[in-house]
């Protein structure tokens, strides 16, 4: 069990930076999730930690030790790949035994057998042990893949989108399974995904990445309720956050060219003042827009319902006012018809303000 520390890690592919001076510290026993869109450099970072890629600059410390010159094999990390990389010419048992038979370990057969049985038990794959790995289903393969990672009790687990090739139902099951596994094993997980649900549900902490840089590191709550910039705000949350350009005028926020005038909270006003900005991006999540049939006390604006996506547990209303389109989630029993005019009440306590130039959070 160990922590991982990345210091000003930089990696380029043909002069295109894939990782740009990354600093991250993954705590011991933490479930740390790296979240970002395709091409953000998440996988590259994981591969650098494992040793499969060599960074141009920066240091990687596993358990305090600089592993820059340590071979892949000797780093004692486990890697679960996006594609099930079970060795096709081996049975499930041979696959699980393979890491234990490395020259680095030299375990006795009895110990190997015991470990394999234990792991098979944990992952519920005992009945598959003597099957050829090519005859397994996707979910079973990924279970074995994870099994091959945990069988040798490595210092850290590196997981590169292990669930992305599974179908939705199975992915949900495996999510719970992985969380359980992390709890059960009590080891460090460094997990890469582009799926915000995976990140939010499993991660102790999340690092949001974009184009080779870290945008924000924090708990799922931090990321969701206090996004560091508009990218993080947009990337996390479904349906996505509503972002509207606004101008500060006499202590009021004029949105979308004066269509809506709302009053920020005292805190937000203070933050705006200290930032010295009067042009901002106003962000509000769909669930922070309260929909009513009658006009509310303040920050309440009439809007036209032009589309309703029913999700079962909730409805996503697409609201329109001139050329401004907002999404709001409401309980499905409100009986709101398309074409109807409703009032969108912005819960200003939960609103976000971002710098229009730097896109960084103001308040």
């Amino acid at each position: 069990m160990a922590n991982i520390k990345l210091e000003s890690l930089t990696k380029r592919f043909d002069d295109v930076p894939a990782l740009d001076s990354i600093n991250i510290e993954v705590q011991d026993k933490e479930f740390f999730v790296l979240l970002g869109p395709t091409g953000a450099g998440k996988t590259t970072m994981l591969r650098c930690v494992s040793g499969l890629e060599k960074p141009e600059e920066g240091t990687i410390r596993i358990d305090g030790e600089d592993v820059g010159e340590v071979s892949i094999a000797a780093r004692d990390v486990a890697f679960v790949f996006q594609y099930y990389t079970l060795y096709p010419h081996m049975t499930v048992r041979e696959n699980l035994e393979f890491p234990l038979r490395s020259r680095l370990r030299r375990y006795e057969q009895a110990k190997i057998d015991r470990r394999v049985e234990e792991v098979a038990e944990i992952l519920h794959i005992t009945r598959l042990l003597d099957r050829k790995s090519v005859h397994l289903s996707g979910g079973e393969m990924q279970r074995v893949g994870i099994g091959r990672a945990i069988v040798r009790q490595p210092k850290v687990f590196l997981m590169d989108e292990p669930l992305s090739n599974l179908d939705a139902k199975l992915r949900e099951e495996m999510r719970a399974e992985l969380a359980r596994l992390h709890y059960q094993l009590g080891s460090t997980f460094f997990y890469v995904t582009h799926d915000q649900t995976e990140a939010m549900t499993m991660g102790d902490r999340i690092a949001v990445m974009h184009e080779g840089t870290i945008k924000q590191i924090g708990t799922p709550q931090d990321i969701y309720y206090k996004p560091a910039d508009t990218f993080v705000a947009k990337f996390v949350g479904s349906p996505p956050i509503n972002l509207i350009e606004g101008t500060l005028k006499d202590g009021n926020l004029s949105l979308s060219g004066g269509q809506m005038i709302c009053c920020p909270t005292e805190e937000q006003l203070k933050a705006l003042e200290s930032a010295g900005k009067d042009k901002v991006i106003f962000g509000i999540r769909p669930e922070d827009i309260l929909i009513t049939q009658e006009e509310g006390d303040s920050n309440s604006f009439p809007m036209n319902v032009y589309f309703n996506q029913s999700m079962g547990a909730e409805d996503i209303l697409n609201l329109k006012s001139d050329d401004l389109i907002l999404q709001a989630t409401v309980a499905p029993n409100l009986d709101i018809q398309v074409g109807q005019t409703v009032y969108a009440n912005f819960q200003m306590d939960y609103a976000h303000l971002f710098d229009v130039d730097t896109t960084k959070r103001i308040g």
Partner: protein, 314 residues
């Protein structure tokens, strides 16, 4: 529905008939050679040829032996004929010859086997390793190298027979095993690199990466993970290299006389007392065909998958 069934039935019949016809056409020369090799001496040159006859292994005895004809004034007596070994008698009755010694076939055959197996082995090792390098590593000027390797195949080998002959004479490789091994390896290795690269490219690199993370060196990963999956490709490549080297005639004919002469270079020299010995040549050909057939059949399981490998995704 019955109509469709019927049409399917007709299609099947046509396919079977066509397959039978092609099989017969392709197998006929083979049949004729085998047939000729078992014909008694007197019937070999008979026209029209008889397909049915009492088989004789005379041709096989002749291909294995060196013989001289009995002079007309020194024919063996009845008693002497009866004292002959059975094989001597068969030869005497067929061509009126006496066996002087064991022929050169076993030696030539060994030459062929040694040269071809060694060159195939070396080709596979070099080709697989080179292909692995090209497939997995960043090699400077990779495409140029690969093209260069392929380009060695572009001139027909016969064109360079004379230069190679002169070169070999100067460095003393004429009529040596090592000379032919080097030559066949050089010719086959380009082919092996290209074919093996195709196979290795198909094996996802993640397998080796997984193995390395699991605690193995790159070479161990290559040996334990890549090689078992490349068996099909190796088998297919080996069969092609083996057959090329086994059948090669031009270089063997020019570069070898004796010590390292292979079967294809030696086989045409089958003269008997009564002219060219077609029976012995046919018998030699049959024996010559066997290793290639055995080799191919042994690797057949891999071969079928190997040849269609690129076409069908796993």
């Amino acid at each position: 529905m019955p109509q469709i069934e019927e049409r399917k039935g007709i299609g099947r019949t046509v396919a079977i008939v066509l397959l039978v016809v092609f099989t017969v056409i392709y197998l006929f020369p083979l049949f004729y050679v085998v047939n000729t090799s078992f014909r008694p001496w007197a019937q070999i040159k008979e026209y029209p040829p008889k397909l049915m006859f009492e088989p004789s292994i005379g041709s096989y005895i002749r291909i294995f032996t060196a013989r001289t004809g009995f002079p007309p004034n020194d024919q063996p007596t009845q008693a002497e004929v009866e004292e002959m070994e059975w094989y001597e008698r068969i030869v005497y009755k067929g061509t009126n010859e006496q066996i002087v010694r064991m022929g050169d076939l076993p030696k030539r055959y060994m030459n062929s086997l040694v040269i071809v197996l060694l060159s195939t082995g070396i080709t596979i090792i070099l080709g697989t390793l080179a292909a692995y390098g090209f497939s997995r590593f960043k090699v400077k000027g990779k495409d140029d190298w690969l093209f260069f390797i392929l380009s060695t195949r572009m001139i027909p080998p016969v064109v360079v027979v004379i230069p190679v002959f002169l070169l070999y004479r100067n460095i003393g490789l004429n009529d040596t095993h090592i000379g032919l091994i080097l030559l066949y390896t050089a010719f086959n290795v380009s082919f092996a690199v290209w074919v093996m690269k195709g196979f290795l490219d198909e094996i996802p690199i993640e397998y080796e990466e997984a193995a390395m993370v699991d605690g193995y060196s790159r070479f161990e990963a290559f040996r334990k993970i890549v090689l078992p999956q490349a068996v099909t490709g190796i088998a297919a490549t080996a069969v092609f290299c083996f057959i090329f080297a086994w059948n090669e005639y031009a270089f063997a004919f020019l570069l070898t006389r004796n010590t390292a002469q292979t079967v294809p270079a030696w086989l045409p020299y089958q003269m008997g007392v009564l002219g060219y010995d077609w029976g012995a040549a046919a018998a030699g050909s049959v024996l010559f065909l066997i290793p290639a057939m055995v080799f191919t059949i042994l690797l057949r399981k891999h071969l079928v998958r190997g040849i269609s490998f690129g076409a069908v995704r796993k």
